[in-house]
Symmetry: C2
Subunit: 412 residues, 2 copies
Amino acid sequence: MTGPETNQATRVLTVRDIEGGITAPGGFRASGVWCGIKREALDLALVVADRPASAAAVFTTNRVQAAPVSVSRDHLARSAGRARAIVVNSGCANACTGDAGLDVARGMAAHTAATVGCTSEEVLVASTGVIGVPLNLSSVRAGIDRAFQALGDGHAEAARAIMTTDVAPKERAVTVEVPGGLIRVGGMAKGAGMIEPMMATMIAVVTTDALVEPSVLQEALRRAADGTFNAISVDGECSTNDCVLALASGASGVSIDAGSIDSLVQALTAVCRPLALDIVRGGEGATKLLTITVSGATSDADARRCARAIANSLLVKTAVHGGDPNWGRLLAVAGRAGVTIDPARARVVVGSAVLFSDGGPHNDREPAAADHLAGSEVAVEVDLGTGRGSSATMWTCDLSAEYVRINADYRS
Amino acid sequence: MTGPETNQATRVLTVRDIEGGITAPGGFRASGVWCGIKREALDLALVVADRPASAAAVFTTNRVQAAPVSVSRDHLARSAGRARAIVVNSGCANACTGDAGLDVARGMAAHTAATVGCTSEEVLVASTGVIGVPLNLSSVRAGIDRAFQALGDGHAEAARAIMTTDVAPKERAVTVEVPGGLIRVGGMAKGAGMIEPMMATMIAVVTTDALVEPSVLQEALRRAADGTFNAISVDGECSTNDCVLALASGASGVSIDAGSIDSLVQALTAVCRPLALDIVRGGEGATKLLTITVSGATSDADARRCARAIANSLLVKTAVHGGDPNWGRLLAVAGRAGVTIDPARARVVVGSAVLFSDGGPHNDREPAAADHLAGSEVAVEVDLGTGRGSSATMWTCDLSAEYVRINADYRS
């Protein structure tokens, strides 16, 4: 998303990839263990900050929210943005489970707090997996005990323990030279797997050793998530459990305040964007990563709305899957997206081939566009032709018959 | 759509199916011919009223509108809702064709007017087929000449001539006992076929022998379309060419005015609803007709918005395809639809099995729901739990791997 925020970032910071995932930044330990929710795979991750860390979160906007989402939101408010630990289980979403589910989520936080040595409000919880099935609290408690014993640089195990049907773990870490010095940011995410029924989809945990107040961390996380996790779509669905949780330990001693927040947004984005794109690449049945840019819009909101409509268009996603430079579908979606468009001045570009401009098609360029679409990383752009400069970028994957098979035929 | 309008209809009228399609009502002749746009199939339909008829239309809301849509809208305004003829070609949408396309659409109307003996403004035009390809006006002119020679009770040929990739022609006719006597309504439609690239989708023509002013016909058509053609979705796409055109000849002598408009809405609905459901049944790759009811909403707009979100949810449509009573997906969509919902009071019903209520699941009822979903005509209901009475109904089809194959692999 190219919004006014990112335009304000005056300098591009030096970012270097490093190993270490969520334990790359100083001040954090992590582990991943098996506690019996899944049959035979890691299913509980614990992240602990050595000292109370600044904490921030971005939650699903779905009005049906899973119990752990309600509990984490509540804890973050009560603790005024401080946390010592994050505990995440996979295999069961603890969603649509009523008051009993809320009790389990609170119990999960309380047991973590007692084990780590903090208050319940200093623990954030998340769950991912099947909706509508009770989460076994005694299994979770045993898992927390075991995870606490295992705490260390277990970023890889933690990243595995939050997977549901992801084909691979997703983690990243970077160093970023911000004005005050070098900070580290690490992250892990689980993606949009729905091979099993009713999986609640996206969860990410981000850590940093920057020294930052909770309010600044929250604002930076919101902005970073807007341009990354909130700019991807696999199938247009928004789950009951989606959340991005962030902790800042301050261990680097490098201070970031409201005046230097842009550098933190860039640093968080450096981890969140590749994680978000990994989620799309790992989308169910996906064979291609599609970058959609909408330009020439009268507002950022229009640009984003149109990009989202294209990202969720079945006809666009199937055309991309088939490698078909079907510019008419892109233009038709832009037309129905409810945004200002001037069809006489609009442009449709696939790869670098302008297939529609000045009110008419250039069908002779379709072979070049088809060549581009044969690749695994493809790009389309729609200029709405309003003569204004707002633009937005979203990422999605193609729609394959495999997606339908995964989501329709799981019982057979 | 159960809106305030239909609730106001105080009596249910007696409706009887009859043969005859669009020529069942008195005062109309029709024909369907081949003029060379398609390789070897009827591709031009002509409907002529013996005398100037009241005319009304509902057009696509897509901001990228095909040339015939612009021309018909213009003609309807200039003629103050009077028309003698409707001419429809298939095989070429005449969309995204610039000023040249507008000239062709105007030429199509002008030639029809000269042939029939009326003004250009008294002719409505529609096109359906491939986007971005020029429509050959001389072929169309020759087709109009041939169609004029063939005029008669050719409703069946006309219904065939507007097909693109529809598996079967879609037509209906009824008699309706309105307060003033017996009227007839006939209709034909072409559906959401996208087997070929960039097909512009839905077109319907409705005729009646009721005696009705254009303004009343327009209002009745709008209301009938809202509850039928605007309440269906195959894939959430809105084409550049969609339109519903209606003509009223007055041949029955039965007068309908603003005071008795509800009876005309019912009469038009009696033809439009089965045509709309035929479009869904004939949706690409469809194996099931899904009726979605959203109740307990705080407003009709909320009810409709939620029903539309469910109708366009990939996860719901794939679950229905797989016969999976996946209530969690229905609830998750209702939660993300941007409508007021009380999850603690919401209910999800599949067939007659209540799978979620009082904040918790009833997973023991899933087998009954699965039995229901094994059929070809299935129903789901989501009560948003707000305690308010607004509701809406939409119809869609399941999403199959065949849909993806049709829309992705047409080149191979």
